[in-house]
Amino acid sequence: MSEAAATSVAPADGVSGLVDDWTADKQAYHVPWGKAMMWIFLVSDTFIFTCFLTGYLNVRMTTTQPWPPQSDIFALSFGGSEPIPLILIAIMTFVLITSSGTMALAVNYGYRRDKTKTIWLIIATALFGATFVGMQAFEWTKLIVDEGVRPWGNPFGAPQFGSVFFMVTGFHGLHVSAGVIYLLWVARRIWAGYYDKKGFEIVEIAGLYWHFVDLVWVFIFAFFYLL
């Protein structure tokens, strides 16, 4: 009914005119508004992570000291075996990909309105996410306590290694932790029947965030750990 009124009345001036102009009946994205907003948030987050990784590129290029050997630093030995290079990070990568898979299935079952499967798949995703954060906490503890890595220096080589490591993996870990809380909150609301009438786009929106966290890890894994 308000649309009919809007066409017949001349545009207002001042602040209410400004609001009218930006909220008028012009739709650019044919998706639920929550999904468009999540995408715009993710684009801004892309900029933050790219700034971190570009800063890393710059300090790594400009340091005159040799870069510490990541492959050996993130090696792990099991039961006194020879250390396996980068194994912890590889396991973390597989855990995060697994969680992305369960999330994709949760989105699908959400649209099928299979609430039980959706909730359990979201909970599984959150558990894999929590596992990832736990392994990251283990990794941080190992580097800080056993290896003496600090944001301002480390025993292996260029001191910038520590600052980049704590900043980039720390910010990513915060995203995973926030995602775990977000997913559990969404699962609880689905269970409570909050979306029964509204529809299950929320699962796709939460899924976008979760896949983005996995996507950022793909770049961190390549640039910080492998290269």
Binding site: F47, N58, A104, N108, P155, F219
Partner: protein, 137 residues
Amino acid sequence: MASSDTAGQQHPLGIYYQIWILLFVVSAFSYAVDYFDVQGAMRWTLVIVFMLVKAGFIIAIFMHAFWERLALCLTILGPPGVLLLLIGFMAVEGNYTEGARFEYMGHDPDAVALTPAEYHASLGEDHGEGGAAAEAH
């Protein structure tokens, strides 16, 4: 596309399983590059190709960008594309700074980074050497 307007992103389950397996395999390839200690240009090429393949499939299939309308896709992918310019500029700048540091501050061309094993061994056998390694702080 018409269906994405009304019923959300509803696709057969099979494609998710396929992409899931593909991501596992490509990640294993990435790890194999490190495990088998591939170095030099080959390492860079392989790691970056595997990274782009993984990122592409996550965005296209898991995040459904493949099925979204062009307006949304350009909003998502356009602005981050400009970041390539920032990366290029910072690479040029970094190259210059590194050259200036080498020229005016000097550096030790023989310096090598320590592995944790070497560091702990140096601490264990001789405390004097451990002190030298800790100079990096």
